[in-house]
Symmetry: C2
Subunit: 171 residues, 2 copies
């Protein structure tokens, strides 16, 4: 969002959360991270976001402890951004909101399907597996794309195959 960025007067958990992940693009960055996107260029290609904004958002998320910046090769020095435990626990938020949109917003096409890997069942309300009756964490979820994407970048193509959440997208 273009937000002035704080909600100072609101002494409320929700407002605190929104100061962090309520900024424009931020929750989509988290979603991509859940999908296994880790590199600056991959976020950029998939989200089509101005590089300056992406850099700023990643830095915020690292500062807040949602992402961790981690060197994956020494030379040339390259870093990747990986979700921390705290970041992974945003999965229910992302899932719940996405599910709401699917049920209530008209133009929500491209419905990806999320299954509990242990049993293959599609997740129900609140990211709970209706068979196992447990809340399924992101790492135990497989995503299969619904109708395929209209995007052509390499990240979108990689995500067009069934894919375990948090697993790095194949290059």
């Amino acid at each position: 969002m273009a937000l002035g960025k704080d909600y100072e007067g609101q002494d409320c958990n929700l407002a605190r959360a929104l100061e962090l992940i309520g900024e424009r693009w931020t929750l989509l960055v988290v979603r991509d991270a859940l999908y296994g996107v880790r590199r600056f260029g991959d976020f950029q290609a998939h989200l089509d976001i101005p590089r300056a904004v992406l850099a700023e958002r990643l830095q915020h998320l690292v500062q807040a402890g949602v992402l961790e910046k981690r060197r994956y090769q020494p030379s040339p020095p390259r870093d990747e951004y990986v979700l921390t435990g705290m970041g992974q626990e945003l999965w229910p938020v992302v899932f719940t909101l996405s599910r709401w949109a699917k049920r209530h917003l008209p133009h929500a096409h491209s419905d990806r399907i999320y299954r509990h890997i242990a049993c293959g069942t599609e997740l129900g309300a609140m990211a709970v597996c209706p068979v196992c009756e447990v809340a399924v964490p992101a790492g135990d979820v497989e995503m299969s794309p619904g109708s395929g994407t209209a995007r052509l970048d390499h990240v979108s193509r990689a995500l067009d195959r069934p894919h375990r959440l948090l697993q790095p997208v194949a290059e």
Copy 2:
């Protein structure tokens, strides 16, 4: 946020949802509506939001079908904004995000407590009642304020007493 407002390239439910409720203030308006705030002046007093922005957000939410504008007195003509079914189903989103903030963000004080009215149990993950084992809709939730608010407006004071969600705040 100052958000540009669309995420055109993202053929994704989440992006659709964020185009609507991802704008600055919007989710706080929904939260207040869940708390039973209905009138323009009450939203304004409680959120401390510029009136122009509030007017625009309310209009968006009405257009999208999240809120309904309803005349509550003929003369002088006065309207109130009430959550539709679609709007009420944002409760799990609000609860999940609020709970995440409470668990993971440092300065999340003022933790309100949410109980299942039928049995008095505090809600667990995903807005599920741990005793009854059902997902509790907003109308069956009672909120009690945790540590009391720092705000002095009449809406905050009204919400400082235990209160059933969706029930209009007493004037």
